[in-house]
């Protein structure tokens, strides 16, 4: 059974926010007024609903996704993308946190990932929660949920790059396997 083309969370078509609204937010987050939002500044601006700091690894992933110049931060131009990305994830999280607990438990995670197109075993979800749940509650908070999805997506992307005939199988050497995987896990 080959995997489909989806494996992405649904795209929310909200109307783009207006520039002055974004600029307001940007200025508040860019505390040192450097003109770019750093990892630390973004981390301080985000909430994961647990009163503990937002996962720094997730923050790094988000910044590097939108930082086109490799400067270690996002400028105002790039910030619109960051804002939309986070807003989309908030919507997804709220959709799947069906009991409104502020956390996604194993069953809700299953529904979310199945909704994105993944077909994963029940036991695998135990592994996922164990690996990503930093609050140690056997559920994932907002930041850890994003991180889990990012890693799954990246591994799928790298697999797909090697699966040129799209049959769900790849053949790799030891070194290829290490290089493929080491900067994702």
């Amino acid at each position: 059974m080959a995997y489909h083309n989806q494996y992405r969370p649904p795209h929310f078509n909200n109307a783009p926010p207006d520039q002055s609204f974004l600029w307001n937010i940007f200025q508040r987050v860019d505390k040192d007024r450097s003109g770019a939002i750093s990892d630390t500044e973004l981390q301080q601006a985000l909430s994961n609903g647990t009163w503990t700091p937002f996962n720094p690894v997730t923050v790094r992933s988000i910044i590097s996704m939108f930082d086109r110049e490799n400067k270690g931060g996002v400028s105002f131009n790039e910030f619109a993308g960051v804002w939309k990305y986070i807003t989309d994830w908030q919507n997804i999280f709220r959709t799947y946190d069906r009991d409104n607990s502020g956390f996604i438990d194993k069953n809700e995670l299953k529904q979310a990932l199945t909704g994105f197109g993944y077909r994963l075993s029940d036991q695998f979800y135990n592994t996922l929660i164990e690996k990503f749940d930093r609050q140690k509650r056997s559920q994932v908070a907002f930041d850890d949920f994003i991180q889990c999805c990012i890693v799954l997506q990246r591994l799928t992307d790298v697999f797909r790059r090697y699966d040129t005939d799209q049959d769900g199988w790849i053949q790799v050497s030891y070194e290829q396997y290490l290089s493929m995987v080491f900067n994702v896990v």
Binding site: L120, V151, I170, Q171, Y174, L178, S179, F182, N183
Partner: protein, 190 residues
Amino acid sequence: MAYPGYNRQPYGGYPGSFPAPPVQDPMWGYFTAIAGQDGEVDAEELQRCLTQTGISGTYNPFSLETCRIMIAMLDRDYTGKMGFNEFKELFAVLNGWKQNFVMVDRDGSGTVEAHELSQCITNMGYRITPQALNCIIKRYSRSGKIYFDDFVACCVKLRSLTDNFRRRDTMHQGMVNFQYDDFILCTMAV
């Protein structure tokens, strides 16, 4: 073969077999004191256990995340916990890695340089291309330096990924066919 052999003797020198732990074994003492009724430790308990053994020496104790991946490295049945025999195996392996690190960290600063990490990895018997090595170094260095805890995390992941690969390379060809589901599962579990 491109990857190192696994002829490590388990702690105590018994090749391949794990006898019942003798009462005088200090490892057993540390372990049972923390493991509790189920005889197994989770990441947080492992962290306490390892700190007690003093294996980190003058370096900072292992982070919780590093302890989690240590368990994953030996966790064949995906329980997320580690039994005593695995603990002994881990301890022996950690000592080996620590020696590698200490040999290179001559000023005892607790960090090694990026190029020294390459050397360590090669000394451990891994034959990896420069590109793959660069991926690894980028992942673990902080301002061009690699701290002991990150070094150990790197070794754990290298070994886990190598195990993943070896287990599937039954013909010893250095090539493996991965099916997508299996790929995701074994790689995410690392």
